[in-house]
């Protein structure tokens, strides 16, 4: 009997068929992450851990995914921070405008203490936050005039994704922020219902908005965050030895994500330059001055947001 317990606790021979989902398309960096993770799990477990991937929101949008993680129907998912922040207000910290100077800064912020503490908050909702995997740094793609200073956004109809802090900020600058489903954006941009949208370089290429826009201003105004999450229920049922394998595979995939993000961002910008002018933001200061007000407002009623901003605001 001693041998038996040993075999169980070490998880020897147990096989797994994990299910993972995310809402982005096949070409997205998240799918790359999922495929890399599948490979890592397979190799590190000597073929005992198989990962089945359901991309493109095949199992439903994010509210559904969270519920499926909660009751263990699926094992893993990549979830967006803007959605999660509608359930966990602390995560709104990631949506703060102009907090990061560059993509490198945003990737570095993943490892800050406050960011790691935020992951623990997911456990209250039956989720096990295992690490960050952003979708990219958001810039502005625009029709007609470029934006160079804060006053340029006055009266512009721009689409943003994200929570109240995002809308708060841009409304404060005098823009007309519009919340619009992704499906409507192309034709809305084409016909001029909106004059621009907040978007990272990956999505700009895959959604082809460059066909109908006039310039891409590298504002880097927001890191569109993502969290790799496992089902708490299922994760706790994995023997410790195997949990270790899962953790190591996930960490490897997250490190892969950091490198891949930087590589893709520079490649994407080079590719985009073939299609439309890619411009640096001249007067970033004017935007940051306004952003400080938002930091203050959202810090005042949340200790963790306050710490996150303090730790990661390098300005």
């Amino acid at each position: 009997p001693d041998d038996l317990t040993k075999a169980e606790s070490s998880g020897d021979g147990k096989t797994y068929n994990f299910k993972m989902t995310h809402v982005t398309q096949n070409t997205h960096i998240w799918q790359g992450f999922a495929e890399f993770l599948a490979k890592e799990l397979d190799e590190r477990s000597d073929g005992r851990m198989n990962l089945e991937i359901y991309p493109g929101g095949q199992l439903g949008p994010e509210p559904d995914i969270v519920q499926q993680l909660e009751n263990g129907s699926i094992d893993f998912a990549l979830l967006t921070v803007p959605y999660l922040s509608s359930r966990i207000p602390e995560l709104d910290a990631w949506n703060m405008p102009f907090l990061f100077d560059s993509l490198e800064d945003a990737l570095e912020a993943q490892d800050s203490d406050s960011a790691q503490e935020m992951l623990d908050l997911l456990s209250e909702q039956g989720l096990n936050g295992m690490g960050y995997m952003h979708t990219g740094l958001h810039h502005l793609v625009l029709k007609n005039d470029e934006i160079q200073t804060a006053s340029d956004v006055k009266g512009k109809k721009l689409r943003f994704t994200g929570g109240p802090s995002v809308l708060d900020y841009w409304e404060g600058l005098g823009a007309s922020p519009i919340a619009m489903g992704l499906t409507e954006v192309y034709s809305a941009l084409q016909t001029g219902v909106i004059e621009g949208t907040s978007i990272d370089s990956n999505a700009l290429l895959s959604e082809k908005y460059y066909e109908i826009s006039d310039n891409y201003v590298l504002t880097g105004h927001m890191a569109f965050g993502g969290i790799f999450t496992s089902s708490k229920l299922n994760y706790e049922n994995i023997p410790e030895e195997d949990q270790k394998i899962v953790n190591e595979a996930v960490n490897a995939a997250i490190e892969w994500g950091k490198v891949e993000h930087l590589k893709r961002e520079s490649e994407n910008l080079i590719e985009l330059e073939e299609y439309l002018p890619v411009l640096e933001l001249e007067d970033k200061e004017s935007f940051i001055t306004e952003a400080e007000k938002i930091y203050e407002k959202y810090s005042s009623d949340n200790e963790l947001i306050k710490r996150f901003i303090k730790e990661n605001n390098k300005k």
Partner: protein, 166 residues
Amino acid sequence: MSLFKIVSDSLFKLEKVIVIILLPILLFSLFADVLFRYALNSPLLWAQEISLFTFIFASFIGASMSVKVKEAVAVTILVDRIPVSLRNILIITGLLTSLLFTLLLVYLSIKWISNPTILYQKSVTTQIPMIIPYLSIPIGMFFMVIHFVHLFMDSLRQAKEKKVIE
């Protein structure tokens, strides 16, 4: 008049009032959204979520109404060409099945919205607690259960009187 009929009929009146209120709200918020964005250049951030949630609410209430007025689409190919007694049995079985399924949905959706994490969820733009639009499902399905109970009891009565169930 049976109690079931009275309850189902008055519920139908209530449902009518609800959709007569909801649909104009839907149309108005959508139209106002266009007007404010295009003519006044100041978009209404709440309009999209309000019209979406109104639509979902109206859909589930309307679904219950479609059962009441027997307009929900069904296949009659078999029941129309078999002897009355068998027809009645099949229809009653069908009604009972539908009743049980909608009851299951009521049970599942009550379980769903009574999960404590539901209160963490807010809509992304307007921060409306999601439980408000989510309520459309238990309410709509509960209304549907009531109509099915009435149809079921009514069919039982007709079958007893050896009438053809409409």
